[in-house]
Symmetry: C2
Subunit: 102 residues, 2 copies
DNA sequence: AATATATTTAAGCGATAATTTAATTAAGTC
DNA sequence: GACTTAATTAAATTATCGCTTAAATATATT
């Protein structure tokens, strides 16, 4: 599942939101939702595979943290897409300006 | 389906990419993919519902164009999430700096 | 060593999504 | 008005997703 699909699920987006505020143990993340720990664990795996979060083992706990690189990559795709679109607008504007001057 | 889920599908992301370059007729969009026109038509509906693209009727053709507002909203969510994360980093840095000075 | 705690992995199931073929709608063309 | 073209909508099928319960793994506690 790619990054965008990973963030397509509202629960996973909420998890990313939580981790933007603070690193958290898997259990603490699960406690924020109605779903069972296994369900959240599976969401975390999706986010890991998408490089949106990282884990670190500490004893029997696992501390999850945000991986901003994954988010940056998504932001870059969106930004680039919008940049190309804006570029078209600018090109159109240039044409109109030139016609105006004739 | 929310915006992120809409862009979760690679075909739909490719459609958005095409429309960032130029407005296109539904049929021309479909021609870029292996899938059948009905499949693409349904993808276009998902993108429309997510306010990522717009349609304009012209005779029996439908011209699709990018709706940058939808992309902007996504970029804003990502940006805000990263901003919060960066804020944490800055806060940590401040604490360390203060400890250094003691 | 036995037991408890934290988390993940496995297996199965219902819901949703993506795709296909067939039918429909609507606008041009002869 | 019949026919073609452009695109969508409907119906059916297959694939994928997210969830649950049960089992497994690994660390800590007594």
């Amino acid at each position: 599942m790619d990054r965008f699909a990973a963030l397509g699920d509202p629960t996973r987006r909420a998890i990313v939101g939580l981790l933007s505020q603070a690193d958290r143990r898997a259990g603490d993340i699960a406690a924020h939702f109605d779903a069972t720990p296994p369900a959240i664990s599976q969401h975390l795996k999706v986010l890991r595979d998408a490089s949106l979060v990282r884990v670190e083992r500490r004893g029997r706990e696992r501390i999850y943290s945000l991986d901003p690189d994954g988010l940056a990559a998504m932001e870059a795709w969106i930004g680039e897409t919008r940049r190309v679109w804006n570029g078209r607008l600018d090109a159109l504007k240039t044409v109109l300006d030139q016609e105006e001057r004739q």
